[in-house]
């Protein structure tokens, strides 16, 4: 089972993601913003990062760019979990190094399938 970091400014969303993944046996840590996420990544090792796009201060794409600059996260999967579904944003995410893009609201089963797929 994987060690996953959920990054979202909304506590409810972090709880929901944690709820969906913990039940499947994964270990989920939470961060409420980009800076906190980067601090957590520096301290612990994570197999996967699931981040929101729109957050106060730095957004999700900036987090992805920062993570991709780290040696440990050069090839690690990063999922974007957001309400945005515009193609140009998805293209920007892809360019930044996002592994997958999930549009809210998500089905927990779908999330688990995606997580399983990207962790292979």
């Amino acid at each position: 089972m994987a060690n996953i970091l959920a990054v979202d400014d909304a506590a409810t969303m972090r709880q929901v993601v944690s709820f969906a993944l913990t039940d499947a046996g994964h270990t989920v840590a939470e961060a409420s913003g980009v800076d906190e996420a980067l601090a957590r990544v520096a301290k612990s090792k994570f197999d996967l990062v699931i981040a929101d796009l729109n957050m106060p201060g730095k957004n999700g794409l900036e987090l992805v760019k920062s993570l991709r600059a780290m040696p440990d996260f050069r090839f690690a999967p990063i999922l974007m979990l957001t309400t945005e579904h515009r193609d140009e944003l998805k293209a920007a995410g892809k360019e930044a190094g996002v592994t997958g893009w999930i549009v809210k609201p998500f089905d927990p089963t779908l999330l688990l399938e995606v997580v399983k797929k990207v962790l292979k």
Binding site: T12, Q15, V16, T83, K104, P105, F106, D107, P108, T109
Partner: protein
């Protein structure tokens, strides 16, 4: 009237032109049809001028005069009183203009006040939206936590129920007071019953073996009986031999005493042997009787054991049938539990999806609060500021001065930093805290 006429002539000349044309047409038609002398034409012109003047006096002036009695908020008595006329007051010309423009000023002032009030209310709404977002987030968070707890406990309950139903014999560890699943219970009962059957079968087999051994004992007792008969006949023969020896010893005369003793000894021994044989026979007969009783008891016990084993086998067969039925019930229960589990999982998924709408709504509200409401507030502030700047211009100052001087009167009560015409307050929203109450004189 002249001021009104001048005002109308300046601002609405087509109204006067239409009135003049309307009054002139009948005279022109008469002059065209009926030839008239100059004095008659002059008289017609005089009548036309008089009619024009009266038209202006009675129709145009009331049409354009802005009267206080037009205020819809006045009572009927007040309107009657105001429309009764006041001969001490000057004409309506300046009042008309002032009234129109003061209405405009009132509207501007009202607009400025409304903008300011709306800006304040928008700021209040912005704070309210922030509170709603915060409280909703807390509520949904609490709901999420509770929901997690509920689903966790439900899962535990289900897993416990499943383990009770699915546990197999290899995992069965029966301790005092421990719970047993239905299959476990059936299995344990069957095992115990099988052990009872095995014991009874062993007992029955042992009883058969005992009966076999008893037969052998009886055979041996018959043999002993025959031996005892032999011994008895031998003892009788020895007694007879001893008697013959005694007779022979009496006839011989020599060593007589010694032979008598010998024959007496033989006779005693023979008698003793006979007594012992009798005693042994009696004991054997008692043993035989006891063996017969024991045989009957063992035989009865064996019969009972066989019957019990037969019944136990029948019970096991019935138990197997029951167990098969119960196993089916357990399978059905397991299927139901599995189905319920799947339903619960689907409900949980749906609830998780529903919970995310709070976040989506929150983002939209945040966007509205952060961008839209701020823009609205800024726009309202700008409009309020611009309106107030507009009202400071010379035109409005001049109108106010003129109105005060002409007695037509616009009693102005300041609203905030700006003067507010009375009509504005009369038509302003009652619940607007930023607009103070004003009166028009």
């Amino acid at each position: 009237m002249s001021s009104v006429f001048a005002s109308v002539l300046r601002n609405r000349p087509f109204v006067l032109a239409r009135l003049g044309l309307m009054l002139l047409l009948p005279w022109a038609w008469i002059a065209f049809v009926v030839p008239m002398p100059v004095w008659a034409l002059a008289l017609c012109g005089g009548f036309w001028a008089l009619a024009f003047s009266m038209g202006v006096r009675f129709f145009v002036t009331p049409m354009f005069a802005r009267r206080r009695s037009d205020d819809p908020k006045l009572s009927v008595d007040q309107v009657v009183k105001l429309r009764a006329g006041n001969p001490g007051r000057p004409g309506l010309d300046i009042r008309t203009i002032t009234g129109e423009l003061s209405q405009f000023q009132t509207q501007l002032n009202k607009w400025g006040g409304a903008s300011k009030t709306s800006s304040s209310k928008t700021a209040h709404a912005k704070e309210g939206v922030g509170e709603v977002i915060s409280q909703t987030e807390q509520a949904v968070l609490a709901l999420t936590m509770s929901f997690r707890g509920i689903t966790h406990k439900t899962r535990q309950q289900m897993e416990t129920a499943m383990s009770l139903l699915q546990r197999n014999a290899s995992e069965l560890t029966v301790s005092e007071g421990a719970w047993l699943s239905l299959p476990d219970y059936i299995r344990a009962y069957e095992t115990q019953l099988q052990e009872v059957i095995d014991s009874m079968i062993k007992f029955s087999t042992a009883s058969d073996e005992m009966l076999t051994h008893q037969g052998k004992i009886r055979e041996q007792s018959v043999i002993i009986d025959e031996l005892l008969d032999e011994l008895r006949s031998m003892a009788i023969r020895i007694g007879r031999l001893a008697l013959d020896s005694s007779v022979a010893a009496g006839e011989s005369g020599r060593n007589r005493e010694m032979l008598v003793k010998l024959t007496d000894s033989i006779r005693e021994t023979s008698d003793h042997a006979r007594d012992m044989t009798r005693s042994v026979r009696e004991s054997l007969e008692k043993i035989r009787d006891e063996l017969v009783v024991t045989y009957k008891i063992i035989n009865k016990a064996a019969d009972i054991a066989k019957e019990s084993a037969r019944r136990a086998k029948a019970d096991v067969s019935q138990l197997n049938v029951t167990m098969i039925e119960k196993t089916k019930e357990v399978e059905v229960s397991l299927a139901k539990i599995n189905s319920l589990g799947q339903d619960i999982q689907q409900d949980v998924n749906n609830a998780i999806i529903a919970m995310q709408f709070q976040d989506i709504t929150q983002q939209k509200l945040e966007h509205m609060r952060g961008n839209i409401l701020t823009d609205v507030m800024q726009n309202l502030d700008v409009m309020s500021s611009e309106t107030q700047e507009m009202m400071k211009r010379d035109l409005f100052q001049a109108i106010r001065t003129e109105a005060e001087r002409g007695g037509a009167a616009v009693a102005i009560v300041a609203t905030g930093q700006e003067p507010v015409p009375a009509a504005a307050a009369a038509t302003a929203p009652v619940n607007s805290a930023a607009v103070e109450k004003v009166t028009l004189f």
